[in-house]
């Protein structure tokens, strides 16, 4: 697995651009009864004016050890070696919903043909060196498509920078 989609949760404003870009990419039309593959949640705790309001853009996490792959009785779900995407072969899916029982995140949805449908990491785009549609559109750059561990490394680096700044400040000078 080379790259994965990361959500920097503090940057997400819950606007839904990723959900719409996903529907545009995958020709999903809610008026036909089709389900979005990427969805937005607003989680509120506490009370105004000091409530904590967080937003989450959620879709398939393309787990390394995917319970849905193991749970699928027909082998319709597999994990791509090249992209790391967990993908469904519709021809093999029998619509038994085993994957939805196996998935701890509530990801699998069933299309009008009763077959499982979910994010495929925009695999064709990724193989053509393009970003997934949701990542490309994200106006806050909260969604990132990065090499595994790179996002963490950057976060760590930023944290390290903050430590240095804090130390300098207590010593009476600041870095910019």
């Amino acid at each position: 697995m080379e790259k994965a989609i990361y959500l920097e949760i503090d940057l997400c404003s819950g606007c839904g651009a990723c959900a719409v870009a996903c529907m545009d990419q995958n020709d999903i039309f809610p008026e036909k009864g089709q389900s979005a593959l990427r969805r937005i949640y607003q989680i509120e705790e506490g009370e105004f004016p000091s409530a904590s309001i967080q937003y989450v853009s959620a879709a398939c996490l393309h787990c390394q050890d995917s319970p849905c792959v193991i749970g699928c009785p027909t082998g319709a779900i597999s994990k791509s070696n090249r992209t790391g995407a967990v993908i469904v072969e519709k021809e093999l899916c029998i619509g038994c919903h085993s994957c939805s029982l196996a998935c701890p995140f509530g990801v699998p949805r069933y299309d009008l043909d009763e077959k499982m449908q979910k994010c495929n990491l925009c695999m064709e785009r990724v193989e053509a060196s393009l970003e997934p549609a949701c990542v490309r559109v994200c106006p806050m750059n909260a969604l990132k498509f990065e090499s595994v561990n790179k996002v963490q490394r950057e976060k760590e680096l930023k944290f390290a920078g903050n430590i240095v700044n804090a130390v300098h400040k207590t010593a009476g000078h600041t870095t910019k």
Binding site: A17, D24, Q25, A36, F48, M123, A128
Partner: protein
């Protein structure tokens, strides 16, 4: 699956799939955004789109509305051909007619009215978007009518007016260089992602962020200080901050002594607005008022980020915003780098770092050669401060009264009657017109009242000029041909100019020749722009200078920054306007009308933005609608909901003495207890019906959309 099939399924552009990427821009919201679009076109049809990476406005991203463009462009409500009404107004019964018949009918009628009543009896109105406005205004004036009007009668103009009364020229926040940004009051995370990105960048380099907002939003979540003001009390909050800044001597004494007018009276006036009084009036704790005042006054440079309409949508809006902008003068933050810098506009309300002849182009006939605009007697400050247009809120009264002259015909481009408070009154007044034409993409309820309806095309089907604040410019080319029998607004305007027989050399020379004429001082030509379909940086961007008032003073009557307005002073007697930025509570409020508040205990705030909507422009799209599935729904605090026994999505009636609407209850901690937020313009729940037609700020004519009183009942 074969590789080619896979690439087609993944919509990967290239010769293998015959998917071509073409350039355009999004104009669903407007202006200063106009994100670049990469349109994936196959067999002449757009199959997908994304943001252009080269356009500095969006750098490859899009907002939720822009991402939904495909459903906007290919919407089934698109008008397919010019139409002539055959049934009663509003019935939606039309018959198709040719463009020739439509345009000739309109031109003949306009010329007949001009002959019988004078050209002023024909009015020209612009809704969204804004790219065609200079041409439409020119059409009105070349025809001889002073009555060019627009939706800016409820957006941006009053904010500009507030700033002009204080400084002469408005100043926008210098986001790149400011060390303290005071957002008053807006949420760019929903409305202007570019600004939101600039805020994040600013914070990364240590910029302080103060946000005044009656809601909790993604912007307030990032703030060092969030002042959760009660809607309509912003003036009191600003005056209380001034009280702290003055009494703690945090103000810019050099600026105040040398470049301001009326400070002593202002200083005396703000004494009553102690932080404690401020808390009582606004609901913001006094210690937060003190902290905000100290932070804004002492971190240099500091800038105020205003919003186009949130503050001026109050019956006391202009005075409230004057009080806010006075803080920029008080602290010496006006027209400095990192403060509120005055930047000249280049085209269609946007600065572009190039000189143009737009103003000269649109004002093809001077005001002095035309009769006064409608509403001149009622809104004299508007006429004095807003050079571009007439106040459209006066339209129903004007049509009905026929004074001082009758209005006989109206052509609207994207006119939406629900923009007016007491919307039915405007709609019914249109019945008195001899001819009402509406140009639109979609068969709207307003179109159904028109005698003739003309189909306009979307931004990706036309050619338009846009300038960007970072010195970028684009003249788009159609990515696809206009759908059905639609045309661009500009083509319609130039066709009309021709058929009206106007003796106007630039209309006669044509659209692109006009653009060349407008751009002439910049040295940029249409031919050059066409070589850059995705836009280009302007070759010689203007250098922005600060403190332009040092040469020639402020463009105010006193030549100074005015704490006390010499313009408003003139109207004290006849209109009762106050020269100081005085605070009066909203016309209907606990303070002004306590008896009314007994029966109608909630503050009704309409139109505060949701991420997926900009006015009504994305209501038709199932992609955006799916993100707010309970629409129309009013946002209500769970605290209030518990008191009223309301659960999520319960049906409620929101009423004022004027009218009532029925919507769902959307429970969220984003809103404060006691305030109901209802999005505007919904066909089945038009919240503007709850307001009286004259619930206006007498200074600007702006409706008090964001604070009136209402009650809520579960039904």
């Amino acid at each position: 699956m074969k590789d080619v099939q896979k690439l087609v399924r993944g919509k990967v552009p290239g010769p293998t799939t015959s998917i071509e990427v073409r350039k355009s821009i999004c104009t669903i919201c407007d202006p200063l955004t106009q994100c670049g679009l990469d349109l994936y076109v196959k067999d002449g049809k757009i199959i997908k789109l994304e943001g252009s990476k080269e356009n500095p406005s969006n750098s490859g991203t899009l907002c939720v509305k822009g991402a939904a463009n495909r459903q906007y462009i290919y919407n089934e409500d698109r008008i397919r051909t010019p139409l002539k009404r055959t049934g009663p107004r509003g019935s939606g019964k039309f018959e198709p007619i040719s463009w020739d018949e439509a345009l000739n009918t309109i031109a003949d009628k306009f010329n007949e009215i001009k002959k019988q009543n004078g050209p002023e009896s024909v009015a020209f109105f612009s809704g969204y978007t804004k790219y065609f406005r200079p041409y439409l205004k020119r059409l009105a004036h070349s025809f001889g009518s002073p009555n060019y009007l627009s939706e800016s009668s409820t957006c941006a103009n009053a904010m500009a007016m507030s700033q002009k009364l204080v400084f002469g020229l408005p100043g926008g926040p210098d986001l790149k260089n400011t060390n303290c940004l005071m957002v008053w009051s807006g949420n760019p995370f929903y409305t202007k992602p570019g600004t939101a990105r600039a805020i994040i960048k600013g914070q990364e380099r240590g910029m302080k962020l103060i946000v005044v907002d009656p809601r909790q939003t993604p912007t307030t979540a990032r703030a060092d200080l969030h002042l959760p003001v009660r809607p309509g009390t912003d003036g009191a909050l600003a005056l209380a901050m001034a009280n702290v800044i003055i009494n703690e001597k945090l103000y810019d004494q050099d600026f105040v002594a040398n470049y301001s007018y009326g400070f002593e009276d202002y200083r005396e006036y703000v004494q009553q607005f102690t932080p404690e009084k401020g808390e009582e009036l606004t609901g913001v704790p006094s210690d937060q008022i003190i902290q905000a005042a100290r932070m804004y006054a002492s971190v240099k440079p500091a800038a105020i980020l205003p919003s186009a309409s949130a503050i001026v949508h109050h019956t006391n809006g202009v005075q409230n915003y004057r009080a806010v902008f006075s803080l920029a003068g008080l602290t010496g933050n006006y027209d400095i780098v990192g403060g509120n810098l005055s930047v000249p506009q280049s085209f269609a309300h946007a600065p572009g770092l190039i000189p143009t002849k737009e103003e000269e182009f649109r004002q093809s006939r001077p005001w002095s050669e035309m009769v006064p605009r409608i509403g001149t007697d009622r809104f004299p400050v508007w006429v004095e401060m807003i050079d571009e247009e007439a106040q459209a809120m006066h339209l129903p009264d004007q049509i009905r009264s026929g004074e001082p002259y009758p209005l006989k015909a109206l052509i609207g481009f994207g006119m939406n009657y629900r923009m007016w408070p007491d919307s039915m009154d405007l709609l019914e007044s249109l019945d008195k017109l001899e001819l009402f034409v509406n140009v639109d993409l979609f068969m709207t309820d307003t179109c159904k009242y028109a005698d003739i309806v003309l189909p306009a095309c979307s931004s990706v089907e036309r050619s338009e000029l846009r300038c960007y604040p970072m010195g970028y410019i684009i003249f788009t080319q159609p990515a696809i041909q206009p759908l059905y029998n639609s045309r661009s607004d500009v083509d319609i305007i130039y066709e009309l100019a021709d058929r009206l027989g106007l003796n106007d050399p630039l209309f006669q020379a044509g659209y692109e020749a006009s653009v060349d004429w407008i751009l002439e001082p910049s040295g940029i030509t249409v031919a050059e722009l066409k070589k850059h379909p995705g836009g280009m940086f302007v070759p010689n961007p203007m250098k922005l200078r600060e403190k332009k008032y040092l040469n020639g003073g402020f463009k105010t009557p006193s030549g100074k920054m005015e704490f006390k307005s010499k313009v408003l002073e003139k109207y004290e007697g006849k209109f009762g306007f106050k020269a100081l930025p005085v605070y009066t509570p909203p016309k209907y409020s606990r303070e002004s009308t306590p008896e009314l508040a007994q029966e109608y205990p909630f503050i009704l705030n309409t139109g505060s933005r949701l991420p997926m909507f900009i006015h009504t422009r994305t209501f038709r799209l199932t992609w955006t609608m799916s993100l707010r599935p309970n629409h129309p729904a009013a946002d209500i605090s769970p605290v209030d909901a518990a008191r009223l026994g309301l659960k999520q999505d319960d049906i409620i009636r929101i009423s004022t003495p004027k009218d009532a609407i029925v919507v769902k209850a959307n429970l969220t901690q984003m809103v404060q207890p006691g305030v109901i937020h209802m999005y505007h313009g919904h066909p089945e729940a038009n919240v503007n019906l709850l307001l009286e037609g004259d619930y206006l700020d007498p200074l600007s004519g702006f409706p008090g959309f964001k604070s009136t009183l209402c009650k809520v009942e579960k039904i």
